[in-house]
């Protein structure tokens, strides 16, 4: 009876919520209050895929859904990214019959790293994808090892883990465990002998804290690592490996002769694609079908927006504040461009979800990447423009290229009235609308 009531309340709540444009976690919250173990009482689809990690969750989930749907499966997923237990409950119950049977082939869940163990106390995912564990939102998460420890109990023995072999910390989930499949990128055109970035989170072994060595790096501390002391290392056999990558041409080759063209030529996109491919292959989708869906796939989540501002063609590269790897990746993207450009960095509200004036994370970002010829000007905007200016003063970016514009509207106006060079904007969800309000969006 409680079960039926919880399902009814959740469905009704979701219906009303959609009408008034409210978030999707509240109906689940009420349902859990009525029937705390409702998730144990419903019949889930045969495939339950969870995706977690610091970066790339939403994009990976979107691509997994696209591939599985193209393969004819019905997929239910939390598109709105309500990724704690309340949101998961809403997603599950609104897609249940009144008898509590989910009408889908696949339940796909984007899961918050720290709350996964809570969300999955009543059912275990059949597949758990970990995209990576990076420095991210210290104000909520502490540090990557803390997140690792929080996530660890959710790596149930009966769940098949799909892990990023190139990230030493997330690879630790696979230590002494059989039920694992690995994805990764072999040595290729982007590989280097030295790490990039301001800090090196692979300098010491995450298992024994002895100095770790690398055969090559792809970016930051991601690459082929091994610990001479305890023998922890990137797995020798990668189940789903990309063998070739040409970021200039936008071509990625995966295992069994599959070629994927990249709509967005960022290393980020490559790892998200690899994660999505790996789990979809595990779910029985043939490689050729995956490649067909993912070829030139344009993400719909709006992380990248093209716009016009006066005579400028602009591109918004959404970068999570408090996440240096996200920033570094987008800075590298700019560095790889050729035409003269202006770069705008906006830090106005550190987070949209909570208050903080914490700016330490700026010191983890490799702003030296902006020290290249085609970057003609760097505009620093928002309330924390002076923090950005202090940080930039510790790079080799020439001071005369750096301009302070705390007022975002004024910065846009100044740009609009002057010049026609390309514009790249780096900022977070919390601040991007402050830019988008002043520009004309273009189709990607």
């Amino acid at each position: 009876m409680k079960k039926l009531l919880a399902i009814l309340i959740c469905k009704a709540g979701r219906f009303v919520g959609k009408l008034v444009g409210r978030g999707s976690s509240l109906p689940g919250k009420y349902a859990l209050r009525i029937c705390p173990d409702i998730l144990r009482q419903v019949t889930l689809p045969p495939l339950v895929i969870a995706v977690t990690g610091s970066n790339g969750k939403t994009s990976t989930v979107e691509m997994i859904a696209a591939i599985l749907q193209a393969a004819g499966k019905t997929v239910v997923y939390n598109e709105e990214g309500s990724n704690q237990i309340e949101g998961v409950t809403t997603t599950v119950l609104t897609h249940c019959t009144l008898g509590g049977v989910m009408k889908a082939d696949v339940l796909l869940i984007e899961s918050d790293e720290r709350y996964a163990v809570h969300s999955f106390q009543f059912f275990h995912p059949t597949h758990f994808v970990v995209t990576n564990l990076y420095r991210d939102q210290l104000t909520r998460n502490g540090h990557p090892e803390w997140v690792f420890d929080a996530l660890s109990p959710a790596m149930f023995p009966d769940t098949r883990l799909i892990l990023n072999a190139d990230d030493p910390l997330s690879a630790c989930f696979g230590v002494n465990r059989d039920n694992v499949k690995w994805f990764g990128l072999e040595r290729c055109s982007i590989s280097t002998e030295t790490p990039s970035g301001v800090y090196h989170d692979g300098a010491y072994c995450p298992v024994c804290k002895s100095p770790m060595e690398y055969r090559y790096y792809h970016f930051n501390h991601i690459g082929s690592y091994f610990c001479p002391e305890c023998e922890f290392a990137r797995p020798f056999e990668i189940d789903y490996a990309a063998t070739e990558l040409d970021l200039d041409e936008g071509i990625l080759r995966i295992g069994e002769g599959l070629t994927v063209h990249l709509a967005f030529r960022s290393i980020y996109n490559v790892y998200n694609i690899l994660a999505a491919c790996a789990v979809c292959r595990e779910c029985g989708v043939p490689g050729a079908d995956i490649a067909k869906t993912i070829d030139n796939y344009i993400l719909k989540n709006g992380r990248m927006v093209r716009f016009l501002l006066g005579a400028h063609h602009g591109m918004l590269l959404t970068s999570k504040h408090e996440n240096s790897i996200a920033y570094d990746t987008n800075l590298r993207y700019i560095k790889a461009t050729e035409d003269p450009c202006t770069v705008v960095v906006i830090v106005d509200a550190v987070s949209r979800k909570y208050y903080t004036s914490e700016t330490s994370w700026l010191w983890d970002i490799d702003f030296d990447l902006l020290n290249c010829e085609q970057v003609e000007r760097v505009l620093l905007c928002g309330q924390y423009a002076s923090d950005l200016a202090v940080r930039l003063s510790f790079t080799d970016v020439p001071g005369e290229k750096v301009e302070l514009h705390p007022d975002i509207a004024e910065a846009c106006e100044a740009l609009k009235n002057n010049g026609a060079e390309d514009v790249y904007v780096l900022t977070c969800f919390s601040d991007r609308d402050k830019l988008l309000a002043h520009v004309e969006k273009e189709a990607v």
Partner: protein, 244 residues
């Protein structure tokens, strides 16, 4: 002056842009006409603090901290005598805990500390996080920062931040934060504490001059952007404080 800095465990204890502390201190001292050399020391290296003008250890994860502490206790005696002798030091984040008698991790494992201070640290499974606004006995202006710790530090009678109006201190919310002894400065406030707090940076500079017996120039360099960033944090946190 020719100044010798020791940066201990630069790639092990390097969370949250801790390196900014060393970078900004170096810049200011160089702009005052000094020459600064920075020696990086890693686990296993021999360490001699007697000729150092400044010893710096940044923040690290709890696991990295254990690796650092197990290495540094080899030189506990030398570090204590340098501290007694007035060598300027800054220990940030989890590095501060190393200066105490002991650190006990969440599982109950005990680690001997460097015993510079008569305090001890107990780590747990919950993190205390939040912006911090407070005052120190060292100067008039406020101290700003961000606390992110899973550790209760008890027994400190000479804190760095003597009074907190916002955020977590060593043992409790709005309790005192950090540790200070002679010219040893320590704080669990994350990241580039000296960048965020120009008055504290000037205090460390003054400690370095003191130890050398050199007179501090009457006017220290002031950088407009650094002061503005500090003013922004002070204004924001004060406004936050008033709404709470």
């Amino acid at each position: 002056m020719e100044l010798r800095f020791l940066h201990l465990y630069p790639d092990l204890m390097n969370l949250y842009g801790s390196w900014g502390n060393l970078a900004i201190l170096r810049r200011h001292l160089e702009d005052m006409g000094n020459t600064v050399t920075v020696e990086e020391l890693r686990p296993g290296d021999a360490m001699d603090f007697s000729n150092a003008d400044f010893v710096f250890v940044g923040a690290g994860t709890e696991r990295s901290q254990k690796a650092a502490i197990e290495d540094l206790v080899r030189f506990g005696k030398e570090l204590r005598s340098a501290a007694d002798d007035g060598v300027a030091m800054l220990f940030c984040g989890t590095a501060m805990q190393m200066l105490g008698q002991s650190v006990t991790d969440a599982a109950g494992t005990y680690y001997m500390g460097l015993r510079v201070g008569a305090f001890s640290s107990q780590q747990g499974r919950k993190r205390f996080v939040g912006d911090v606004y407070g005052h120190t006995d060292l100067y008039e202006e406020p101290v700003v920062g961000f606390m992110n710790s899973c550790t209760l530090v008890s027994g400190i009678v000479t804190p760095l931040v003597t009074k907190l109006s916002l955020g977590y201190g060593n043992e409790k919310e709005q309790g005192p934060e950090g540790f200070r002894k002679n010219n040893v400065f320590a704080s669990e406030l994350t990241g580039p504490l000296l960048v965020k707090n120009p008055p504290l940076l000037r205090r460390v500079i003054s400690a370095i001059y003191d130890r050398r017996g050199e007179a501090l120039p009457e006017e220290l360099p002031i950088y407009r952007m650094e002061e503005e960033a500090y003013a922004t944090a002070c204004r924001e946190l004060l406004a936050r404080l008033e709404t709470e």
